[in-house]
Symmetry: C2
Subunit: 139 residues, 2 copies
């Protein structure tokens, strides 16, 4: 029994830059393979392969027009991505003013270090000494 390879989750599909480009192209209107090929300057087989992936993943659909195939978008999978993203929305809007307050505070007194979060200290807060604080973590 042949098992389907990979490439299921909508996220893996849109991870590919060329695929995203194709999808963006199709927002305006349906396009043939050749048109996509020219506009994005990719080779024809590459376009066809990506379209295949997109079609099998349900991001696009095609109809036949003589020797051409016209591809257009389908909405479902996008909504899926959107749904996942939704759980973070509340978070990021909530964080905008928190950040503002934070920056505001920063501006006033010089160095009240870190913790933008409600200082939710956990476990043993034993720190024998206010050690010069962590090094610039991020990267």
């Amino acid at each position: 029994m042949e098992y389907i390879k990979g490439m299921e989750s909508a996220f893996e599909i849109i991870a590919e830059p060329n695929r995203r480009a194709i999808l963006s192209l199709l927002v305006s209107s349906e396009q043939s393979v050749g048109e996509i090929e020219r506009q994005l300057r990719m080779t024809q087989p590459t376009v066809s392969k990506h379209l295949r992936v997109l079609r099998e993943a349900g991001f696009v659909e095609s109809t036949v027009d003589a020797q051409r195939r016209l591809y257009r978008l389908r909405p479902e999978r996008f909504q899926e991505v959107d749904a996942w993203l939704a759980q973070f929305r509340k978070f990021w809007s909530a964080h905008i003013d928190a950040l503002e307050r934070h920056l505001d505070r920063m501006g006033r007194f010089p160095s009240t270090p870190d913790q933008a979060t409600p200082a939710k200290k956990k476990t043993k807060e034993k720190m024998t000494r206010p050690k010069p604080r962590g090094k610039g973590e991020t990267k």
Copy 2:
């Protein structure tokens, strides 16, 4: 000169299922590596590596709490994804009734086991014959 490996676009970052799981976990509150490890049942090195990717990509940030590192979300990159997704929004709401009409039509004529795509003739309506041809597209 060390060049940064790969993994730039936010989309590639969230393409990884484990990474998405971690992000979802962090929605509720910040977590230590160990907590993530246990909840998601991944090995510690795997968690650390994914966190590193997420951190370098700007999806999360960390602070030091004794030997622990507490990771929490950062909003920016999510917004980036959201922004890309935005261009499709108008499209998918507009397409809901179009889809309904589409399904309605499907119900009427039985044939073409082909693709979910209906043979919707456009342009040159010349087709000498409605050849039932066509292998099952979508695997």
